[in-house]
Symmetry: C2
Subunit: 179 residues, 2 copies
């Protein structure tokens, strides 16, 4: 591993916990992304200086995020791992999985709590807040899943639009008025 590549892999490790997994899992993912060829478990454990068992657990974790693929080489019984999908797909998967872990449980708790009537003034206030939070999270979630269902090409247009988004909305209003 050259210095530049190593710096990237180690950085992925440091960021790992912020991105939702732990240091080694982050390093493993970085390593797989940056390597043209798929790597075996032993290669990973040697490159990162971690135990074989840890690699196994890390791969399992990455699979639960749908971020790695298993491959086989002819005449070789080992499993070889490589990142699943394009960079763009990886990003959407991380978003999606994080939503499942960070937002969905909260939405469900809020819904439950909003089912029964508030018992007193304090609970009334609490429920109002929960309602606000619920609606906001739901809007964001719906919006995000809209984006994920758009074709990548359209999505790209939309993203590149940047400051233009605002203009397009104005345009829509005009368009609807004049049409």
């Amino acid at each position: 591993m050259t210095a530049k590549i190593e710096s990237f892999v180690m950085h992925c490790g440091e960021m790992g916990s912020r991105w939702g997994f732990n240091r080694t899992v982050g390093q493993m993912y970085g390593l797989l992304i940056i390597n043209e060829e798929a790597l075996s478990a032993v290669q990973i454990s040697e490159a990162l200086n971690i135990s074989r068992g840890n690699v196994s657990m890390g791969i399992k974790e990455l699979q639960s995020w749908r971020l790695v693929q298993v491959q086989h080489k002819p005449k070789d019984r080992k499993e070889y791992y490589s990142p699943a999908g394009s960079i763009w797909e990886m990003a959407t998967r991380v978003f999606e999985e994080r939503r499942k872990r960070e937002v969905d449980p909260t939405l469900s708790l809020l819904r439950d709590n909003l089912l029964d009537e508030p018992g007193n003034q304090q609970e009334q206030f609490a429920q109002d807040k929960m309602h606000e939070i619920h609606d906001l999270l739901e809007t964001i979630t719906n919006w995000a899943s809209e984006l994920q269902n758009m074709s990548p090409a359209k999505l790209n247009t939309l993203m590149k639009l940047g400051a233009g988004v605002s203009k397009v909305i104005d345009m829509k209003d005009k368009f609807l008025k004049n049409g």
Copy 2:
């Protein structure tokens, strides 16, 4: 604290680490959101059964995320804490702070690494990947900051648009062609 309120506060604790801070900080934030009145440090430590020192550290953390405000009551030397801004503002602050912690350092590392020439085929591949990641993160970042700078009203239109976003883009193309 009634059962419902407590379940919300405890849930915020469990989610805390996923949202970027730790359990107690999550609980503290939940408690402040759900309470109509601002709370003193001692009230927080009693409600959550944590030490006074821990409350002090937690408040500091929440302040670094710009999520709490300090208030004073007349004839009272204590500090009282309450959430800063509306639910919507809280959400954008969490986004923004997470971007600073999760994305910005990566962008800066990638930029550094992309400055020098690749030394060999392996590094060439690595740099290509880093370039892809860099561009994607940059696009997402710019897009996100666009959204944050839009007026809440416009943003709401855009959000409510949902599936319609796609249609508006088509419309824009038509509009530009015909106009």
